[in-house]
Subunit: 240 residues, 2 copies
DNA sequence: AAGTGGTCTAGACCACGGC
DNA sequence: CCGTGGTCTAGACCACTTC
């Protein structure tokens, strides 16, 4: 009497996805009521606990809100705080094209501190790419990223001209990024940075040092970003 | 045949807490195995699903890790990224005492921009308290916080000398804080800030503007923090 | 093979919300 | 009042890890 599910996926996931699809397709709008546990159980031919599991997961992910005694409702779209996004993605999410210029691209072996952060030997070769990010014609940030050269063979700077670093890592090398730890502080622009950003030497700039980890837990990229004061604000949401 | 639980709390929460206590008391150390679902069910006289619920919640909170086929294990203590903590709490979590000096405390009605951020009329009275945070004898930050004066009657600056702002809000006024949205950028120290932080005028400083919301979703406090360069680094974790 | 977590059933009662 | 989500039972089988 075991009702075989069509695929190998858990029933609660299938229910979850079916609701998720309807939300993304716009058939269910924020505020709309979602089927109750009992309705879903009947529709999908599962027990209450299974239907419940599906809704509980969706609530945990922020897709729906559950109100005791009232029902389950589609949640308003969340603003993506604390999301790890590439510059290209950030611009795209605002409907803008990413503009940047590669300042330098080389393989270096003399940056022991950064190699250490990437859990590598002190003399390990690193791909080092420095780019100036532009808004309109004005440069507003200098980003330098470091990758272990051994893990990204035949890394092509040309590809960087076209697409984002993230998409290259993910599509060309199958590296799934998971999270990043960032250190943020203020500092003054040194000579070369000042020149690249067209600001006076010593101007206050925001420095963001980012260590990006892949899903396997390995540090994959180190990025140092220097942002012109007044041109850039970081947004974070903290929870209690 | 309904086994009455001693209190009104759900069984799965009691199980959760009993495990949580043993972890915090050090009886269970990171890596230690936790009782299996079946064991917990027997011990607490509940069904498997209930014991399971308790462990699933603990896993969601990051207290334990579950490994399919192997067991449930105490997770290593997590670094609290992206947590909304008061200065006092941050220091306490490092085993240090918070040291700060109140620079000024007044009620103002002429800061329309900040009143607006707190969703108040432009002329609403605001409690404004400026404090210098110290590490040892060295000042490293200037924090100015604003609260709606109407909602915190008889706000005592004296209490601030003793405890943290957060604890006053939570204990004296029953305001539960939920989350904060922060804007972070770099700027240069103005005259008065430079003097208070003992740094040259124009030195780069990290500015953090924070709007703190209560659990009811209402903006409750606005904080502007100015941090000396080199003395302070912000840590964030971003997820993909 | 034994033990674990992951999924699931077919019910039950309770607490809460809105009419 | 009825329908909702919240908790819970007493089992079951499967997938996985460990030995």
């Amino acid at each position: 009497m075991k009702p075989v599910n069509g695929d190998g996926k858990p029933a609660y996931r299938r229910i979850q996805h079916s609701i998720q699809k309807r939300i993304q397709a716009g058939q269910l709008k924020p505020g709309d009521v979602v089927e109750s546990e009992r309705e879903l159980a009947k529709i999908h031919g599962v027990s209450l606990m299974t239907a419940r599991h599906a809704l509980a997961e969706l609530a945990r992910e922020g897709m729906v809100e559950r109100r005791h005694g009232a029902g389950t409702f589609v949640a308003p779209p969340k603003i993506h705080f604390n999301k790890l996004m590439s510059y290209t993605e950030q611009m795209a999410s605002r409907g803008l094209a990413a503009r940047s210029r590669i300042v330098s691209a080389e393989t270096v072996s003399n940056e022991p501190e950064i190699a250490a952060r990437l859990s590598l030997g002190t003399a390990s070769p690193l791909i080092k790419v420095a780019r100036v990010r532009q808004a309109g014609d004005e440069p507003f940030a200098l980003e330098t990223c470091y990758l272990p050269a051994d893990e990204f063979p035949s890394f092509s700077t040309a590809a960087l001209e076209r697409g984002s670093l993230f998409s290259i890592l993910e599509r060309e090398y199958g590296t799934e990024l998971a999270y990043a730890d960032e250190e943020i502080d203020a500092t003054g622009a040194d000579e070369s940075t000042a020149e690249l950003l067209s600001i006076p030497h010593g101007s206050p700039i925001l420095r963001m040092r980012q260590l990006i980890f892949s899903t396997s837990g390995k540090p994959t990229t180190y990025v140092v970003g220097l942002y012109r004061s007044g041109r850039h604000t970081l947004l974070i949401r903290r929870f209690r």
